[in-house]
Each structure stands twice: as C-alpha cells, then as structure tokens.
Symmetry: C2
Subunit: 220 residues, 2 copies
DNA sequence: CGGTCATTTGAACTGTATCAAAGTCGGTGG
DNA sequence: CCACCGACTTTGATACAGTTCAAATGACCG
C-alpha cells in the first residue's frame, strides 16, 4: 500500500513537559529511550501487548482501528507533547503509526507504575484522551462535512498552540479517515472554505485563519 | 419539546452487583438512596456539578450532548447494572435522562471516594464506558446505516444478557440520535432487516434474532 | 372508543461517495 | 540544472445512501 519504513536511532532521554496549554500543569515527564519512527512506520499494532507508553517529542502520530474490509477510522492524532499508548487493559485496542518522521520517548509501563504521582498524571491524560472520543462521536454523528473540517482545523490549531497559522501534520487521507469522510470531500470542502475566504492555504499543508471568529461561528 | 416529568420516591438502599457479564467481578455495589425517575425526566444536565454517581436498578437512562441548534448526539445508554455519572472533572460533560421510568441508586461522590477499593472499581467502569465511545466513533465514522443498526442491536442484546429475544428500552428517535441517523432511516432499516428475515419484530419494541450468525456476519 | 404519540411508508431531494482524469509538488538521477 | 517520476491533491461528472417533508398507520391509555 505505502512505502514501508522502520525505526531508527535510540538514545536515552528525559522528555520534559512541552505543551503550554491552558491547564497542563498536569504534564507528564517520561523517562525512557528516544526513538525515531519514520513516516508510515508502525509503532504498535492492534492486539499487541501494551507494555510501553510513549510521548511525542516531534513529528506526529496517528492511532486507528480497522474494519475487516479495510475501512479505517483514525481515533486520535498525537502532537508534540502528547502522551499515547496508555492502555487500561493488557492489549492494544488500536494501532499507532508515525505520520511523519517522529521522535518519541518510549517508557516501560512497569517503570512508570512505580511512581505513583507520575502514573496518576498519566491516567488523567489517558482519560482526557478518551473524553476526546466522546466529542469525536458527536462530530461524527451529527455534524456536516464543513462543520467537521472547521472544528478539526480549529482544534488542531489550538493543540499546536498556533494562533492563526500552522502546518497540517497529516495527509488529506488521514483527515478523511479521522472525520469519517472521503479524501475528495475533504479536498473540496477545504477548497470551498478558501473560496469563501474563511481559510488560506499555501501549498496543501500550510493553513491560515484570516478570520477566526467567522470560522468559530460555523461550528460553535 | 416533550412532556415534563419529575423524580419520585426515595428510599435508602444497597444496590448489589447485578450484571453477570463475562468479566464483571468488577461490579460496583453502590450504597445510597434509590430514586425513581419518570420517563423523559432529567437526572442531571450538562454543566451541572458532578457530585453524585448513579447505578441503574431497573429501566434505562441515556446521556447526550447537544449542539446549539438542537441536534442531539446520545453518547451512552445505561441499562440495569450500569453505573453512570462518574466524572473525572467537576462538571457534567453530558446530560442524563430516564428513557422509561427508571429506578436508580444515587450515591454521594465523596462517600464513594472514601472507599479506595470501591472507587477503583468505579474508575474502571468509567474507563470502560469511555472506551465504548471509541468503538462508537468507529461505527459513526465508517459504518453504513444497516451495519450501525445491526451492531447496535447485537450489542444491546449482549448487554441485556438476552439470548435471542429482548425488549428495546428506547424509542426510534433515541436509536437514531445514538447512531447518527434519522428516525425514518432507523425505521426503514429495521423494516428491511425484518423483510430479509434477519430480525423479527413484535410491536416496535420486542426484537428477536432468528439467525444470530447471519446478523453477526453483517457487521463482523 | 377516541385521542395522542410513536412508527411506518411514500416521494422527492441533497450531501457525500464513487469513479475517473488532470494537476501539483518534491525528490532523484541523468 | 532540469526533466521525469511517483505520490498526493484537486477537479469533474455521475450515482446513491440517507435526509427531508408529508401523510398514513398503528399502539397505547384513559
């Protein structure tokens, strides 16, 4: 399907709290090994043993689930500062792959569990992540294509701490599989938003919000 | 919108573990007050303080979120034995209402927190519930109307410990708002499933699976 | 029985998918 | 340095699943 890639480089690292989001004094500092995963490289697969937890340093990661006929639903995107791979059971409920070349700190689950304070924070992060999928379900169940795209872009800008301009870390296909749309609908919708002067595109990855207020109105 | 109703009756009670699901030695015994909520009655609203946790004794409950124009997404249905209203933050992220007259045990959050073992179990239940919304997102993002209905019915039968016949505790509109469809599509799809001899309906609430295997194939 | 509310059915419409082709961009090798 | 390649994206034309609007039917309850 797509070019196969594999992990590179491994150095010991202490990954500090990065994101400066609103209430993130809840940030997790993972101690572990930094690994570089190349674009499209699998980090773990659905059903694997969940022995490690991860934190994105740079690049981005997607997690996803598949139906047996190949339809894919991307469940989350992870951006720099995000923790992922925290499972409550023993097995992975979703697979994870690097979107672009990504540097990730990998930490043994058992090692984290030893530190009560740390594992509390990790739990809270994981819960917050799960709560995002409730929001996601609302979007998938009840919003139009335009509303999905707009709320997605606004959310992404927010998580990237971007004010009104940022780089999309994923392809149109990834966006489509996250929003329950097709790649063509994503493309057309973004073209239309640009025609309506609600967003500006420079190349297909760089997005600017010339009038954020108007965008926000579109999906409240 | 709909007939207003209100809570009735309050007696002290000890709500024992009910569901005999596969791995539910994880069941929670809430000690609190039994309340009866009438059909369509609000149990709590989005944004309320989350001071109580609940367990369904009989009847059923829905939780939901609204868009500002009134579109509704039902996030979960709670059946006898289910715990609900466990929040990780201080505020309700969704509203909850009784589907039918429902008996519910209400317990102060602070009271439960005192019992470590108990609150652990409560947490795990809440996490499992949140994980369900990841499954839900897959369904909403990537399955057809027929697949949604079939997987919904199978899941419901399972949770009701029904073998091949059970009573739907909710209206077509509720099913529609859970599955991201319209009431007409739900109705037509069920009629079609019946015509295909994949389900049998007696009245609009009683469902039977004459060939469960065939149903399961429809949504793997 | 009659009234109310939920459900089903029908007909027409529409948003999004599908299928197909053309355009863009970045990288690579000549 | 430039031309070509492959992957991704955009655009176009058409199809269709699911929605919308409207009306008929059915179920429940006093």
């Amino acid at each position: 399907m797509q070019a196969q890639a594999y992990a590179l480089k491994s150095t010991a690292i202490r990954a500090p709290a990065i994101r400066n989001g609103v209430e993130d004094r809840d940030d997790v500092t993972l101690i572990g090994v930094a690994k570089t995963y190349h674009r499209e490289c699998e980090i773990f697969g659905e059903g694997d043993a969940a022995d490690f937890v991860y934190k994105v340093i740079s690049g981005a990661v997607r997690s996803f689930r598949l139906l047996s006929d190949g339809r894919r639903q991307i469940t989350h995107f992870y951006l720099p500062g995000d923790v992922f791979g925290v499972e409550f059971g023993k097995e992975r409920r979703a697979g994870a792959e690097a979107l672009s070349d990504a540097v990730v700190v990998v930490s043994r689950r058992s090692a984290v569990a030893a530190d009560f304070d740390q594992s509390m924070r990790l739990w809270r992060q994981a819960v917050r992540e799960l709560q995002r999928s409730e929001d996601h379900a609302l979007t998938l169940g009840r919003r139009s294509a335009t509303e999905r795209i707009v709320s997605f872009l606004l959310d992404l800008a927010d998580r990237l701490d971007a004010d009104d301009e940022f780089e999309l870390p994923m392809t149109r296909q990834d966006i489509a599989d996250y929003l329950g749309l097709t790649i063509e609908t994503v493309s057309r919708t973004m073209t239309q938003l640009q025609a309506d002067r609600l967003i500006q595109l420079q190349g297909c990855r760089r997005v600017r919000f010339p009038r954020r207020g108007a965008l926000e109105e579109l999906c409240e």
